[in-house]
């Protein structure tokens, strides 16, 4: 028997806007209008401002921790723009704030979440997304399930789920990819490969050359894009969504980007990253690139930049004020969301006494009196 090749594959890398802000006109055709690009740029600046302010809030003790999105804005906004607000569903991890805001999440919600308030996870009616997912990878399976529900109900929508390079080492990623492709559900897997999972570089996380090729094993469409290139991200995501909605299959998009900041505010990346490496990626900052492009087209200048930065600062200050102005949750909330149905008797008992930690304890026996009075 001669040896035959039974499988051959390649992974394409898509870039449309290069690091100097030069656009490949042919590839850019039918992607974003000038108006959309301007909007996207302004939104990027707003989200960058938000990120910086959040960082300072943490440093001054007004927030628990915060994972900065800095440097990854094009990936979030490009993909977020490709999904249709109110139709497509976003299933995030925690480093794509901009996509969530684009799809209608009030901006104070993310701050509220990181300030340590479950209400930051309450998604307003009609806004299609799940709350941030902290256990790495779990959300990809939820995305598959939601997409599967869409398919069952014959709804013409798509789900896009976000995760990092590190998350592709989790079983959840592989199980979700397998389910999504076997069941052929309308789901797009969007990996923000920012080169690092906390202190673990991509090369120590995986031996495969790309993340994108991991999807080949599952029969997914796979593409790598320049994740700091708004146009490439938009184009690849839109094609993936269109294909998924038409029943044409699942896509894994690997967006090559870089985490310009620390992993979270609890981290100091200088301990494990070369300044040289960071500096080289600073040169690829999606904001710089897009600004160059807009300036070249005569759509942007220093004066507009200055005015817009002022506007963003004021807007973010207002958002912070709103987030901090929300009243503390009532102590009843400790119990109230444990069950969707009536609280079981044992929890009602705890709720009534609050001071006993035992399920069985009679409040009068615990020296609490029979009035079930509360700890103040």
């Amino acid at each position: 028997m001669p040896i035959r090749t039974v499988y051959k594959a390649q992974i394409d890398h898509l870039q449309i806007l290069d690091e100097d802000g030069k656009l490949d006109e042919k590839l850019a055709r039918d992607t974003l209008t000038d108006e959309q690009v301007l909007f996207a740029y302004e939104f990027m600046v707003l989200c960058r401002t938000y990120d910086e302010v959040a960082f300072k809030l943490q440093r001054s003790g007004r927030m628990g921790t915060y994972p900065q999105n800095k440097g990854q804005e094009a990936a979030a906004i490009g993909s977020g723009l490709a999904a249709v607000k109110g139709r497509d569903f976003l299933v995030p991890c925690y480093r794509e704030n901009a996509a969530l805001f684009l799809h209608g999440l009030p901006m104070e919600k993310i701050l509220l979440h990181w300030m340590g308030d479950e209400r930051g996870n309450q998604i307003p009616e009609g806004v299609l997304m799940t709350p941030l997912s902290i256990p790495i990878g779990t959300q990809m399976l939820h995305a598959t399930g939601i997409a599967w529900a869409y398919k069952m109900r014959k709804e013409d929508r798509c789900v896009i789920t976000y995760f990092g390079d590190g998350a592709t080492s989790e079983g959840d990623f592989h199980e979700a990819m397998n389910f999504a492709t076997v069941f052929n559900v309308p789901c797009v897997f969007f990996c923000q490969n920012n080169q690092w999972a906390i202190s673990v570089p991509r090369e120590s996380q995986m031996a495969s050359e790309t993340v994108a090729q991991k999807g080949l094993a599952y029969g997914a469409h796979c593409i790598q894009v320049d994740g700091n290139d708004l146009f490439a991200v938009y184009k690849a995501t839109r094609e993936a969504i269109d294909r998924a909605r038409g029943g044409g299959g699942v896509t894994l998009i690997e967006a090559i980007t870089y985490r310009l900041a620390d992993h979270t505010t609890a981290d100091d990346a200088r301990r494990y990253r070369d300044e040289e490496e960071v500096a080289s990626w600073r040169g690829k900052d999606p904001l710089i690139r897009l600004r160059k492009y807009l300036e070249r087209k005569g759509l942007w200048d220093d004066a507009r930049q200055a005015a817009h930065e002022e506007k963003c600062k004021a807007q973010v200050a207002e958002i912070v004020k709103n987030a901090e102005g929300i009243e503390k949750p009532s102590t009843d909330d400790i119990f109230d969301y444990t069950f969707g149905t009536e609280l079981p008797a044992e929890l009602q008992r705890q709720k009534a006494t609050l001071r006993t930690t035992s399920l069985g304890q009679d409040p009068s026996q615990a020296g609490l009196g029979s009035d079930h009075s509360r700890a103040s």
């Binding site: 399930g145 069952m152 979700a176 389910f179 969707g340 008797a345 399920l359």
Partner: protein
Amino acid sequence: MSTLTDAATAHILPEGTREITFREALREAMTLEMRKDPRIFLMGEEVAQYNGAYKVSQGMLDEFGEKRIIDAPISENGFAGLAVGAAMYGLRPIIEFMSWSFSLVAADQILNNVPKMLYMSGGQWGCPVVFRGNNGAGGQLGSTHSWTVEALYANVPGLKIGIPSCPADAKGLLTTGIRDDDPYFNLESERMLSDKGPVPEGDYAIPFGQAALRRGTWSGERNSDVTLVSFGRPVNFCLDAADELAKDGVACDVLDMRTIRPLDIDSIIESVKRTNRVVVVDQCWPFASVASEVITQVCERAFDYLDHQPLRVNTDDVPTPYAKNLEAEYLPHKGKIIRAVRSTLGLS
């Protein structure tokens, strides 16, 4: 206090009651609910083409088709997580684990996502998923395949956990679980799937958190000597033990908890106040078990009524043995229960 189910009436079953097996009872619960509610689907390994590894879903693929009875890849964490997403988007998944032993690879989804989704979203995203499958040792399946998960899982708030001891309860509890808006774990015993018992026709739901008194009465005519508390398969061992003890003139209340989350502690206390003695029989390991919890609560609420320290009959505190004779001895069984009851009464 919750309604107490009297042994005198618990066995009077409505018209149309016939004898069917435990597995048929489970199937009936799913089938009847699925006929009414198109949001429900059943997913798991081998549930469709093969009619279920233990034939619980026999014939369901024929009736409901492959959109609602779905063979999943061998990926417990995968389909558990998929169910979370599907439930968040309004479907009502029933997930069959071939064995609860294998639910351990899905721990993140079923323990870290399912019961917390509602809480962490400030009341917004419920997770009405039913997880069900075989639980408990006794089939010589070796230690890794013989899990009794109730102690481990009962520790997690936000879950409802039922563990039926007879076909009628298997149907009624599963029905309630399917209809419930919260996540529900139905722990079934592979050893009991072929057991037959009287089961009413048509659909009915057994409320969670209501124990059934299987021996003894609430009427107060004659108080029993000892309260036996159990759930799931060992309830049957308790009944055997109680019947044998009765021959020696020892009367037992046998309380079948039916659900351990929520736990009907009120019924236990009520019985203990009359008998002043309690033995808890639990097929899990003893350390931090449901038995420990029951006894803690009895001490907290009825300490002054106790004439003997509470006793528990658990499995031995070792991995489940493989050898038949060792496994049989490791489990709580009639002999151990009788010994425990007699010792609370000072009988040899």
